[in-house]
């Protein structure tokens, strides 16, 4: 199952990067969201799937799933939420202020 999940994570990365390479800010925001999903699945898969019971201590159970990747992912979910929302508002303000959301037109002034 890990192999399949690795492939799924890879595909999430693929679609995320493809969106990231587009010109419109909304697509870029979607791209970053997809990449974070991919990264979460990636971390979880690397730690091994279904290694035991959920990591909540219950008497009589010896084997638990690896809790460390879960702690990392939990942090990451929250951070990526912050990033996505910041990016969205940035996109909203940028397109409002400049009248376009096409990053090719949002270039800075030419050198000199």
């Amino acid at each position: 199952m890990e192999i399949i999940m690795s492939i799924v994570a890879g595909l999430l990365f693929t679609t995320g990067v493809y969106n990231l390479l587009q010109k419109q800010l909304l697509r870029i925001a979607i791209g970053t969201a997809l990449i974070s999903h991919g990264a979460h699945l990636f971390i979880l898969t690397m730690g091994g799937l279904k290694g035991g019971a959920p990591p909540i201590l219950v008497e009589g159970i010896e084997h638990y799933t690896d809790p460390l990747p879960q702690a990392l992912i939990l942090t990451s979910i929250v951070i990526s939420f912050g990033v996505t929302s910041f990016l969205l508002v940035l996109a909203y303000r940028a397109s409002e202020a400049n009248g376009t959301d096409n990053i090719e037109q949002l270039r800075g002034n030419d050198y000199e």
Binding site: M1, E2, I3, I4, M5, S6, V8, A9, G10, L11, L12, T14, T15, V17, Y18, N19, L21, Q24, L25, L26, R27, I30, A33, L34, H40, L44, M46, G48, L49, K50, G52, P54, P55, I56, L57, V58, T65, P67, L68, A71, L74, T75, V78, I79, F81, G82, S85, F86, L88, V89, L90, Y92, S95, E96, A97, I103, E104, L106, D110, Y111
Partner: protein, 778 residues
């Protein structure tokens, strides 16, 4: 001794604080004390019974870089020059620099220079020497650019930095070579193993690179061009760095390595050849100058060429003459720079065409100038030191050992003529400097200020130096045995027992001196007739054009290259960054055999997981093709919810919950903002861009998949998770291990995570609330 070298550096730390009260006490007063202390410390070493002193201080022993100081006659000569002239220059600068200038900066650079220059001439460790060497280049750069609002200052400082650092790096190459093949970083130990260096196959390279460093630093032809532009520096700096000390670092380096290199005949050809060309070319160029400091700059270059040529001869008499001339040159040229500074300060002009007849206004300055210029010209008078060393130079060009090298033999034959030729122009510019400034018709009305004699404090320093000229001239034996002969001995490698006489009887060197005097006088008297030639040569031959061309080209090409990839398109930057990641990671993984594949230890396969996975992949692909904003956002939500289902399946209840909440909020946020964003356009990218994007994204996905599989397939070490499982309850008092990790064991991480969220929230708030006001400001 370490303290003596570090004292200027330590003092420079306090200068900014002292500079704050510059209105009450001129900062220069404190600074004058520093070189004076150093000078008084080192002067005790002078004496007939002087023996080299070694002091070692550990610095970075693991790299073989230690502060090993070696004080022999040569170092002592330089140390006393640096600290002695340093004292006089610092004192002079008190009157030269007004309190309204940025005195703090000036004196910090000044002290850094002094400390590093002491380091250069005292270090026995080649890498310590190199570090100090570059520090002198750097402080010279800062001092030339001191008046950084002037265009000329900026140009001059950059030029000096580019040329001297270029040479410094070449020198480093040579030093590394030598330390590798002799397996030591000490100069003295290299000298002890000189046969290894001399017989090494790379010897020509070692010699060439080292001389490149020395030639650029000591402004030898064709690298001399930076020195005239360095005259933009305040005059005390020109007197100190660009005449008496820093430009002699190259001379020092050559002298230091003479015990090794002098055995090679090419050393004579290259060093003396370039030295004599420099002497002739620069003394000719000096005659063309109209700026007082310009004359002095070219004069310095030509005198350095003369010293260099003498070092190249390698004979006992030549080395003695070279050492003697280092000292003499410092006395008369230092005082002349100060005189030029006084003239500039009191008349407001350094243009020799406007000056003239100043003798009546500034009698004391004129007296100092006449003594110094006549000494520089090598005028045969028994109280001018310049004549002695010039005579030794002529003498040295006449006595060579026989050589088998054809080029060297030829050079030996023509050297006396070239020496006379160069000295004629030396005579001409010396006279031109004095008579043009102090004699002739005074045209006071053209000068910016009404000329008058300088304040007494400004005259003291040049007066002391001129006194040195006369004392050495009258009693040359006074400094011979206790001082000069030690310096010459440490270069020559054996006792140098020379006597300095004024009258040798009528011999060839005297006749050469007389020829210089005669031709020089003729040229001075008929100066106006030669003007057209002076104006015509060198014209387009100037090395400055080569330098300017190189710098300009370097700038245009680097701008072209940078603009070639930095075109301001974010998409392009993404592509470049991602491609770089792909190339580097794939390259690394393949070259180290990092990709592994193993089916062991995999979880069992179930249909429901597969179903969710397929749903997610389809939805993710859907975001690309969707052309409707709402559709794209909802499809994105499908991916997120799918992920939370996977978290449930994979026994991660906390993650599933969090993901569910976050996904809901995110989708809500997307739906709130999408209305304000323009509609998704139907993509009209060219086919090639689409293909490129597809390749990059597929490559990235493949990479991540392979890395995930490899990391699962290879087990390099035991998981540390057991620690958390075992201690969650014991240490954290919680059953939910993930929670204990987050809030307890890795609590600080979580704190920062909250901080990040807080910053994001503040940023969002700011972006929404802050609007441009009517004027357009934020």
């Amino acid at each position: 001794m370490l303290f003596a070298v570090l004292l200027p550096f330590i003092a420079s730390i306090f200068i900014p604080f002292l500079a704050r009260m510059k209105n009450r006490i001129h900062t220069g007063i404190f600074v004058t004390l520093i070189p004076l202390i150093v000078f008084l410390y080192f002067i005790q070493f002078i004496g007939t019974g002087f023996q080299p002193v070694t002091r070692s201080y550990t610095w970075i022993p693991s790299l073989n870089m230690n502060m090993n100081f070696y004080l022999d006659g040569l170092s002592l000569l330089f140390v006393l020059l640096i600290s002695g002239i340093g004292t006089l220059v610092a004192f002079y600068s008190i009157y030269y620099l007004h309190k309204s200038e940025q005195l703090g900066n000036f004196y910090v650079y000044f002290l850094i220079f002094m400390g590093s220059m002491l380091g250069v001439v005292l270090s026995d460790n080649v890498f310590v020497l190199y570090s100090f060497w570059e520090f002198t280049s750097l402080s010279s750069f800062l001092l030339i650019g001191y008046w950084n609002h002037r265009r000329g200052s900026r140009y001059g400082s950059l030029k000096s930095l580019l040329i001297t650092v270029f040479g410094g790096l070449s020198m480093l190459g040579s030093l590394v070579f030598m330390s590798v093949i002799t397996n030591t970083t000490s100069i003295q130990q290299m000298i002890a193993q000189k046969s290894i260096i001399l017989n090494h196959e790379f010897f020509p390279l070692i010699l060439g690179l080292l001389l490149l460093g020395a030639f650029t630093k000591s402004a030898q032809f064709p690298f001399h061009i930076w020195l005239p532009d360095a005259m933009e520096a305040p005059t005390p700096v020109s007197a100190y760095l660009h005449s008496a000390t820093m430009v002699k670092a190259g001379i020092y380096l050559v002298a230091r390595y003479i015990p090794i290199f002098a055995e090679s005949e090419w050393f004579f050809v290259v060093v003396s050849g370039f030295g004599i060309i420099t002497l002739m070319w620069a003394s000719y160029m000096a005659v063309r100058q109209t700026d007082l400091k310009g004359i002095l700059a070219f004069s310095t270059i030509s005198q350095l060429g003369m010293i260099m040529a003498m070092l190249g001869f390698g004979t006992k008499a030549a080395i003695f003459g070279a050492v003697f001339h280092i000292l003499n040159h410092a006395t008369f040229k230092g005082s002349l720079f100060m005189v030029a500074g006084i003239v500039d300060h009191e008349t407001g002009s350094r243009d020799i065409r406007k000056l003239g007849g100043l003798m009546t206004f500034m009698p004391i300055t004129a007296t100092l100038a006449v003594l110094a210029t006549f000494s520089m010209a090598g005028f045969p008078l028994p109280f001018l030191n310049g004549f002695y060393s010039k005579e030794m130079f002529f003498g040295a060009t006449l006595e060579f050992e026989a050589t088998s090298n054809a080029l060297a033999a030829y050079l030996q034959q023509v050297l006396p003529y070239l020496a006379v030729f160069g000295s004629i122009f030396t005579f001409v510019y010396s006279m031109y400097f004095f008579f043009g400034t102090f004699r002739g018709k005074a045209n006071v009305s053209e000068l910016p200020k009404k000329p008058h004699e300088a304040p007494i404090g400004m005259l003291i320093s040049p007066a002391i130096l001129v006194l040195g000229v006369i004392v050495i001239g009258l009693f040359p034996e006074l400094i011979n045995k206790p001082f000069i002969s030690h310096a010459a001995a440490s270069i020559y490698g054996g006792d140098v027992d020379k006597h300095i006489y004024f009258w040798h009887g009528i011999n060839l060197p005297l006749i050469m001196s007389m020829a210089v005097l005669a031709f020089g006088t003729i040229l001075v008297l008929t100066r106006t007739k030669w003007e057209p030639i002076y104006r015509f040569i060198p014209g387009p031959l100037s090395m400055n054009k080569v330098y300017d061309g190189l710098v300009k080209r370097a700038e245009t090409y680097s701008e072209k290259i940078t603009k070639g990839y930095m075109n301001g398109s974010l998409g392009r930057y993404f592509r470049l960054i991602l491609s770089a990641i792909l190339i580097v990671t794939f390259g690394f993984m393949i070259s180290t055999g990092g990709f592994t594949f193993s089916m062991e230890n995999t979880a069992e396969f179930t249909a429901i997981e597969l179903l969710v996975a397929i749903m997610m992949v389809v939805a993710a692909a859907g975001t690309i093709v969707a052309n409707n904003r709402v559709a794209a956002i909802i499809i994105l939500g499908v991916v997120g919810y799918g992920l939370s289902i996977l978290f449930v399946i994979y026994r991660a209840p906390d993650l599933a919950l969090t993901q569910l909440i976050v996904e809901t909020v995110t989708v809500a946020l997307f739906l709130m903002t999408f209305n304000h964003l323009p509609k998704l356009e139907v993509r009209q990218q060219p086919w090639s861009t689409k293909a490129l994007n597809l390749i990059i994204s597929l490559g990235f996905g493949t990479l991540m998949t392979l890395v995930a599989i490899s990391s699962h397939s290879s087990k390099w070490f035991e998981s540390i998770s057991t620690y958390f499982i075992e201690n969650s309850y014991k240490l954290g008092g919680g059953d939910n291990i993930v929670n204990v990790i987050l809030v307890d064991m890795r609590g600080l991480d979580t704190l920062f995570e909250i901080t990040v969220l807080g910053i994001a929230a503040l940023g969002i708030f700011g972006m929404i609330k802050l609007r441009k006001n009517k004027k357009g400001d934020v």
